[in-house]
C-alpha cells in the first residue's frame, strides 16, 4: 500500500532529520551560536561509530554511550574556549551571529581536516541492515532504531525543558538572555551547557545515521544545511518546532519521491520551507522578533 509506505518511510526519515536538527536547535536557540560546524560534529559521531565497528566490532548503539560524554565535553570546551569570548565581546545579537558564523565556519574546516587524517575515504559499513515489516511496509531495522532513539531524545529534551528547573531556566535564556540574567540565571554557564548538550545530541545522531547512510569526512555541510532549514522552519529555540518541521520535511520528501519524482524531493522540501516562511516569517512556532 503506497500510503502506508509513504507514511512509514516518511516518519522514519523525519526521525533522521530530527536527529540532525535537535542539537543545532539548542545551540542556536539557547546559546545563540549559529553553528556552521554542526554537520561536522555529526560526521564525527559517524566516524566514531564506523571506526569502532570496523576495528573492534563494537555496536554503534554502544558507541553512542561513548560518544555522548566525549562530544559533551568536546563541545563544552569549544564553547568555553572559542565561542564564549565572542559572546562576551559582541555588542548586539547581530554581531554575535556574524562572529559565530565566521568562527564556526573556521571550526568546520578544522574538524574536516582532523577527520580526513583519520579516515579519508567513505565510512562504509552496515549495521542492523535487516528488513523488517511495519504495517505491511518494508524498511530497515537500522532506520527504525534511529527513529526510536530520536523519539527518546526528543521526549527527554521536552521533559527536561518543560518540567525541570534547569530546563525552564534554559528556556528562559532562549527567550531573552537579558531578562534571564535579571532573574538570576547564570546565562553564560547555561549557554555553555546547552551548547554542549546540543553537540552531544548531534554526535549521537551522526553515529546512528551512519548505520544506514554512507558518509565521508566532507559531507558535513549537507547536514548543516538541512539542520539550518529545519531549525529556522520550526522557529528558533522551539524544540516542538524542530520536530514538527522534521516531520513535515520527511513526509513531504517521501511523498514527492513516491508520487511525483524522486528528483524533485529537495526542491519540494525547500519549496515547503519557503512557503512556510512566507506565511509565518518567524517559523512555525517561533516568536516574532523584537
Amino acid at each position: 500500500m503506497q500510503i502506508i509506505d509513504i507514511l512509514i518511510s516518511g516518519l522514519l526519515l523525519s526521525g533522521t532529520y530530527a536527529l540532525v536538527a535537535m542539537g543545532l536547535n539548542l545551540q542556536y536557540g539557547v546559546a545563540r551560536i549559529m553553528n556552521l560546524a554542526n554537520g561536522e560534529v555529526l560526521v564525527f559521531g559517524s566516524l566514531a561509530a564506523f571506526w569502532l565497528y570496523t576495528s573492534s566490532q563494537i555496536s554503534p548503539l554502544l558507541t553512542i554511550l561513548i560518544v555522548i560524554p566525549i562530544s559533551f565535553i568536546g563541545n563544552l570546551l569549544i564553547y568555553n574556549l572559542l565561542l564564549a569570548p565572542l559572546v562576551r565581546r559582541s555588542k548586539s545579537r547581530g554581531a554575535l551571529e556574524v562572529d559565530s558564523i565566521l568562527a564556526t565556519f573556521g571550526m568546520s574546516f578544522i574538524l574536516i581536516g582532523i577527520m580526513t587524517s583519520i579516515e579519508g575515504g567513505f565510512f562504509a559499513y552496515k549495521y542492523l541492515s535487516e528488513p523488517i515489516q511495519i504495517l505491511g511496509s518494508t524498511t530497515s531495522l537500522s532506520r527504525l532504531v534511529a527513529f526510536l532513539i530520536a523519539t527518546l531524545i526528543a521526549l527527554v529534551l521536552y521533559l527536561w525543558l518543560n518540567k525541570t528547573r534547569s530546563g525552564v531556566a534554559v528556556r528562559a535564556v532562549s527567550v531573552s538572555t537579558e531578562a534571564a540574567g535579571l532573574v538570576g540565571i547564570n546565562v553564560p554557564r547555561l549557554s555553555a551547557v546547552a551548547f554542549a548538550i546540543g553537540g552531544a545530541i548531534t554526535a549521537v545522531g551522526g553515529a546512528l545515521i551512519s548505520t544506514f547512510i554512507t558518509l565521508d569526512a566532507s559531507i558535513g555541510v549537507v547536514f548543516t544545511l538541512k539542520a539550518l532549514i529545519i531549525v529556522i522552519m520550526g522557529g528558533v529555540g522551539e524544540i516542538r518546532g524542530a520536530i514538527i518541521a522534521a516531520i513535515i520535511l520527511g513526509i513531504v520528501e517521501t511523498t514527492v519521491a513516491t508520487l511525483v519524482d524522486p528528483g524533485l524531493t529537495l526542491a519540494a522540501a525547500y519549496f515547503i520551507f519557503v512557503l512556510i516562511l512566507l506565511f509565518r516569517p518567524q517559523g512555525l512556532f517561533g516568536r516574532r522578533n523584537t
Binding site: 575515504g121 554512507t214 569526512a217
Partner: protein, 399 residues
Amino acid sequence: MFTRTLRKLATVATAMALFASGVQAADVIKIGAIAPKTGGLAGGAVVTQWPNVELWVNQVNARGGLDVGGKMMQIELIEYDDKTNPGEHIKLAQRLATQDKVDFIVAPYGTGFNIATAPIYGKFGYPMIAVSAITDKMEELTQRYPNLFFTLGTTTAFVQGVTEILVEQRAAGTIGNEVAMVNVADAFGIELADRARELFAAEGFDIVYDKSYPLGTPDLSPVMKGAKESGAKAFIAWSYPPDSFGLAEQAIIEDLDVNVYYSAVATSFPAFSGVYGSKINNVLGAGGTNVDDPAIAAYRAAHSEITGKTADYWASANTYAALQILEQAIVGAATLDRDTVTQYIKDNSFDTVMGDLSFKNNFSDTFWSVGQWQDGVFRGVKGSNVEGAVDVRLKDGWK
C-alpha cells in the same frame, strides 16, 4: 610595489634553494599531483588515485629512480589537495607549472578537472594521461588539447557495455523488454542516463521506471520501491559512491527481484563487497578487472603491501598503467623535454598492467566497462581490447 617585493623575495629564495640543494636538484624529477583529499570526490580519489601515485613513486625510487639517458633520477612528488573545487585546482595547477616548475604531472581525478586544467598544462607542454575522464567529446577535446590522452573509454562505451548485457540477457529469456533505470542528478549521472535512453530505445527496450535523485539523498527507499513496483527484471543505476551503497542496501531490504542489477561508480570498490558480503553477489558495476592475469595479480599484491589498501577493481589498474606509460615514455625518450616525451607517448606502445597500450588519436581503447561481483571478486565481463572476460551470472536473490 607588491609584485616587485615578491619578485625580490622569490629571487632570493630561489638562489638560496639552488645553493642549498646544489647538485641534488639535477638528480631529481619533479612530478606534480593534484587531486581531492577533501571535498565530494575525496572518497573516490582516496581509493583510486592517491594510492597508485604513492605506489608508483615508491617502486620507482626503490629501483633507484628513472634512467633518463643514462642518469638515474629519483622522483620528487609534489602533491596538493584541490578540495574538489575547480577554481582551487586551476590555481594549484598554475602553481605546479610556474612556481614549482615540475617536470611532469599526474593527470587529475575527475572529468571536470581534467578539462579545466588541459589548457594550462597544454600551454606548458605537460602530457596528461587522463584516466578518470569519461566523455563523448574526445575528438574535439584532443584537437583543442593535443597533450591530453584518454584511457578509460567514452561515455558511449560506458553505456554500451551495459546495453550489450541487456540485449544478451533478453535473448536468453532472463529479462524482458522492461528496464528500471535511475540516475544521480549530477553531470556524470545525467550524461549517462541521457545516452542510455538513446541506446536502450534503439535496442527496443522500454524504460518503465526512469527517475533521477539528487546527490546526497538520504532515503532511497521510494526509488527502490518504485523500481520494484515496475516489475522490471533489470535494474540499472547510474550512481555515485554514496548512492551506490545506499541503493544496494535498499535492494537488499526490498529483496529486489531482478536478474540484472547494475550500479555505476564505487561498485568496484573493495568496500562494496566488504560491507555487503555475499548479498551483493552477482551485482554488476562499472569497471572490472582480470585478477587471474599475472601482471594484474602482481600489481594488486604490491598495491596492498606498499599502500596498505586494496586496489579497486576498475580504474586503479588504469591509473597505475598511466603512470607506467609516463615512466616508460620518459625513459624511452631519454629526456625530460616534455614535447619529446609527449610525442613518444603518441608514437609508441607500452607494456603495462593493462597489457600493451598505445594511443590512436590520443585515445587508448583498452579498458573494462562492466564488471560483476562473483564470489568476492569483481571480475570484468565487458570491455574493450581486454582479455579474461567471464560470463555474466544472474542475480540470484539478496542473501
